[in-house]
Point group: D2
Amino acid sequence: AKLWGGRFEESVTDAVEKFTESISFDKALYKHDIMGSRAHAAMLARQGLITDSDRDSILKGLDEIERQIERGEFAWRTDREDVHMNIEAALTDLVGEPAKKLHTARSRNDQVCTDFRLWCRDAIDAIVSRIKHLQVSLVKLALKNEGLIVPGYTHLQRAQPVLLQHLLLAYVEQLERDASRLLDCRVRMNFCPLGACALAGTGLPIDRFMTSEALGFTAPMRNSIDAVSDRDFVLELLSANSITAIHLSRLGEEWVLWASEEFGFLTPSDSVSTGSSIMPQKKNPDPMELVRGKSARVVGDLVSLLVLCKGLPHAYNRDLQEDKEPVFDSVKTIMGMLEVSAEFADNITFNQERIQNALPAGLLLSVFQEKLQDLSLAELRSISTAFDEDVYEFLGVENSIKKFSSYGSTGSECVSSQLDYWVAKLDLSRK
Amino acid sequence: AKLWGGRFEESVTDAVEKFTESISFDKALYKHDIMGSRAHAAMLARQGLITDSDRDSILKGLDEIERQIERGEFAWRTDREDVHMNIEAALTDLVGEPAKKLHTARSRNDQVCTDFRLWCRDAIDAIVSRIKHLQVSLVKLALKNEGLIVPGYTHLQRAQPVLLQHLLLAYVEQLERDASRLLDCRVRMNFCPLGACALAGTGLPIDRFMTSEALGFTAPMRNSIDAVSDRDFVLELLSANSITAIHLSRLGEEWVLWASEEFGFLTPSDSVSTGSSIMPQKKNPDPMELVRGKSARVVGDLVSLLVLCKGLPHAYNRDLQEDKEPVFDSVKTIMGMLEVSAEFADNITFNQERIQNALPAGLLLSVFQEKLQDLSLAELRSISTAFDEDVYEFLGVENSIKKFSSYGSTGSECVSSQLDYWVAKLDLSRK
Amino acid sequence: AKLWGGRFEESVTDAVEKFTESISFDKALYKHDIMGSRAHAAMLARQGLITDSDRDSILKGLDEIERQIERGEFAWRTDREDVHMNIEAALTDLVGEPAKKLHTARSRNDQVCTDFRLWCRDAIDAIVSRIKHLQVSLVKLALKNEGLIVPGYTHLQRAQPVLLQHLLLAYVEQLERDASRLLDCRVRMNFCPLGACALAGTGLPIDRFMTSEALGFTAPMRNSIDAVSDRDFVLELLSANSITAIHLSRLGEEWVLWASEEFGFLTPSDSVSTGSSIMPQKKNPDPMELVRGKSARVVGDLVSLLVLCKGLPHAYNRDLQEDKEPVFDSVKTIMGMLEVSAEFADNITFNQERIQNALPAGLLLSVFQEKLQDLSLAELRSISTAFDEDVYEFLGVENSIKKFSSYGSTGSECVSSQLDYWVAKLDLSRK
Amino acid sequence: AKLWGGRFEESVTDAVEKFTESISFDKALYKHDIMGSRAHAAMLARQGLITDSDRDSILKGLDEIERQIERGEFAWRTDREDVHMNIEAALTDLVGEPAKKLHTARSRNDQVCTDFRLWCRDAIDAIVSRIKHLQVSLVKLALKNEGLIVPGYTHLQRAQPVLLQHLLLAYVEQLERDASRLLDCRVRMNFCPLGACALAGTGLPIDRFMTSEALGFTAPMRNSIDAVSDRDFVLELLSANSITAIHLSRLGEEWVLWASEEFGFLTPSDSVSTGSSIMPQKKNPDPMELVRGKSARVVGDLVSLLVLCKGLPHAYNRDLQEDKEPVFDSVKTIMGMLEVSAEFADNITFNQERIQNALPAGLLLSVFQEKLQDLSLAELRSISTAFDEDVYEFLGVENSIKKFSSYGSTGSECVSSQLDYWVAKLDLSRK
């Protein structure tokens, strides 16, 4: 029997109850639901809509419920349908009448949007911190491998020698944009829906600016229908996650390749690889295979959410209950992918000898391709006297790398100054 | 410490263990894993690769493990990584040495594919049975609403009157194709990978035809690399589910529309709708909103699986571990969508009066549009003498429906004979 | 015969040539390719890498080519493979030797990224301007319909009365976030890859800051491998488009519903609807159906691009040639959707009478539900009896709307002040 | 001015006309539209709905129009909106009055479904023939490389030696399922919607069985609403294409890997690779990179179509006009992918020496792992010591492969008999 069921003669069938419940997943919002209720109760009291004593009972009850949940002692009930009604009903069980007044000037429609935005805001902070952590791991890996030159590939064919540091910093750049994209999303979502009520607002003298501020939002949302209907904030979050996931899938692919016997460029430590009972010599780079593989579910989660919202009229539709699981899954997955990538980066060694063998002289020529093209030998010489001498003997790979000088290039000095930039930005030290 | 970890000096880190484990979801395969092991043990014994007494110990142990799992008494262990190693290690704990011989001529690679195909085969049977059940509900609903005429829409504008039965049978047709698509998929997937071992087969004298037959497969798969690498059987299953989900999303949309006050064509019973504490007059068709909404995750699951498999080289890659959750989710979701749609169909009534009002005389004219077009009045009369008289008075909607006579049309007789077809096919009776 | 084909003994087969060509679609980049070449030539000359006279020949030649293309007189050649080689070879045909020097310190890899970023930057500006235009249309529509009250829906059931203006402004809010998301994307993408060359940079003394500035970029990209490999800027653009498309699909759904005979809330003018030869009374809201429908391809384009980039190793892979068509299609589609939505908004009238009939007294009660919450049953009854008697006379819908007073609510004053905000922001006047 | 525009006072705006037209892409259906019209005209005449002389005029006119189109002389007109109206209006221009009678008992709704099914049926036949062609190329490649042993990989780590033939036949198996999936789809779609008219059928005495048979359909569709509303036949086709595309993306990945200098297992001929002006030594396997990359758009097309159909009520909605372009694109792309893969297969050579070097002795041990399982540690050591001494001399890789004997394994005899199977099935000869 649902809480609102009393108005109906029959209660819903078991199949319907099971199909429509959300408590099995939306209880993940409990902390933010309680946070929202605290702010709401404080506001109601200051506006004279409930008494201070009611407010105090409510706050005390919420504290107790939060404690119970965190200790695993809270009895979640499916017949109470969702996280909001579970907490509200438990509050009533605990503190009686005052609990009922908490629903004044609030509806589950604005409540869930508020909870969800708070949850996503925290999620972004958690993801961004893991992005930074991975950047740190990559920069440290670069610092450890000063001077190591690897083939740069196009079409998976060796193209030009580049510093490994340069390649590692390419990932760092991509991750920086990933973080910045999330932070833009955070700014855009950080507006408070609370007080939009069911969809139209309320006639009661609430103060939306007070609750908004208490919850750390920039401001209340300007339009109550928009506040309860739109889910673009999660679409944007899952889009950002998808792009990060694609970046990591490319890192995964690359490190899986490099760990193959054919490349042999890197060896993961035992702590981040698996063996095979059949093949004792194998060291499988499973974590990076799974990083690559798990990008798929992050993309799938985004697609779910896009399909979900397509063609829905305003304002709330029950379909929207389906918005949570893809978001929870996407956030959990991307955090795992970032953590494990960092752990992998911390636990690999590059095999200088194998890499060296992959840098044949032919590769060096390409360094100068731009000068050779379509120019006469005389012109060639006028540009660079180096061409007067034997390029194969005069240059080693190390020298060839030094020739790169353009901003952003793989030249040793350029890369070194970029590395300085990141060491400073990430608050590391070069020693 | 993983079971294969002994070969390594260090065990994997916690983050990696958590990221790479699959036992939290692949334990859903336990029944089919045990089924496969039984068949494998029997075959090994008959081929003389293990003794009969070993086989008997194994079978007894497997029985006990199955009992424990079904009673919820089995201790799943994350350090034993996946369902196969949990069961195998538990078997060793139970029966000792013989258990170790079960792994003869088998690898986790062919084992998981076998389990998964068995699971999917059962899933298809379960989905098809729910499709039939929904078809039955729709046909019964049609039988209950003999003669009810509703507007047929194009562009969501009323276009032509049709029998409600005709519209309901359109869904039945679509569901029939859904079932047939799944059955084609079942035929195509019903080949046995067991004995492909890691990827290359084995030199031991196993009998793949015996295990294949014991497990109800059509035949063993012809190519061991294909057997362990390809996941097209689940891609096809999830494609079929997606198409069914799209069909159901359209049914959901239609019934949500029809339940609105503006249409007012149907009323769900209390047992399949929800109310609102604010709005006592409301009867929300939540189950059908969620049917519409949940189509999104079925599509998302398919996309996950497609992205997962894109660009993977042969044979097994750890990425493929990610193939299970989307399949489990898709199957569970589609089954719920079918069940709840049937339950909804069983619990709605159509509102004759509201529907009648939506059938203005203008609609009737369209019935004859084909005759009116470009013909002179004289020609018109030669084709149908009805045009001599006043179409508004002469015809009621009922008469207009009777005019439809082409095969497959909404004419009463055509629909009645189609209904006969489905009543017979679904083993119902008209009374 | 390809331009690089001379090095090979055979040229590629016809099937391969047809499969790998990109000129059929990447010629859309011609303007930005020429823009990039102008900046590059100017820089090469200032750095002494080409003479001023060479630069002048190049610039003159580029002017001529641009003129030819714009007049449709340019002969695009498939054997010249892509837009870059078509223009470069045509330049050589026109001005001879100097043209060949334009390729100094540049590769197709950095060239195409530069062109594509410039193209996307323009695309964003064009989309944002269409977003503003649609906002203007919606605000004007709101101004025209002062005071019109419509049902607000949840679960597509009438829930609370709201001002039509309030609902229209909800769309305006969503579009504002859409524009802001695109502008964030623009800021993040506005860095210059030119000078990254094939992937590693160059040893020639180029000035990347000069070309970057000449092309209106914020700065050159810091890492040459990142510059030529990453496609996150288009993934982000297509994500933003997808969210906008979902918003518009919801608008499309809503207006298609409202245009149905059952709702009857709006009538499109003939200039934005279609009729039916069968049904002269019908006015189909085709443009909004297609707005809803075309959201699908915008989502599909995003998925294509995500799948494309998944699992690609660094740096350039030929796969990436496939990045253009989804972007071109997404941008073209979203622009059409925005334009046509604005045109539709400019050409609809709301049907006051039909809307009024959809606002029964029951709806009003909900307005006061929040006040009833804290009252005893006895108090409730005394109030509810009063409502039974007086509500029809005492309250009109107009009065009920006025009761809403919270910030962001549908109350007349709140909405009026929001409307002021948008009128000012969009540079409109209320008269 | 649209053909139906006469009923309206205004015609649609240019933006709307441009946004809603379909002639730019649906003219691809011309052949099937004419085919359908021929069958319809013949039926109308036999049923006495038009005269024989009218029919003859119509058929003659259609012949002329087909000729014009095929010669590129037909003037497609956007103001005639779509392929049906272009041809119908041109027919009227050509033969006058009789042309107008062709629309008797037909609507664009059933007409477009009929055309589209006919088109898809042909598309399936064309794809299946290209699948067979690729199978032939792979089997021929296998025949050419008798006895060549390559490493089999798991986790992209060398796992066990396998015959190259065995790996090539794994693809052949996958393609066989791809073809069978398409053929199932063909059977399911091969029912005729013609005569469903707008949505409800007709009262005229048409013979749907006659047109169905004339067009090669199995039977007319049983339900007219289903006939014009559902698009599951294209969803299924695009699902099948997506699975094939994923298979080919895996082949693409594998061959790109094998063509890298690090693997060095295969060399494409000049006719299927590209070089680099920078790097004369490079042979880029572009066609296979693009095969891998183009899988993305096939998946994107499927997603577009799924999103399109989600949540659409019955029967026809204008959204459905968007169903064609993803289907055309998917079919064109998959055909190109198949053709080019076959061409690539025909033009590669495997590098025996490089492959041999990738088969170290360690790999051989795994072949015998299964036999080691049941032995005591003492026995194990005695055997493993023997291996230490003799394995290089005693066993060649060739001998190790012969040890595989299970059905479907990589053993020489097993593979040889599988090859016989495919040679026979594909009508090839071994010499």
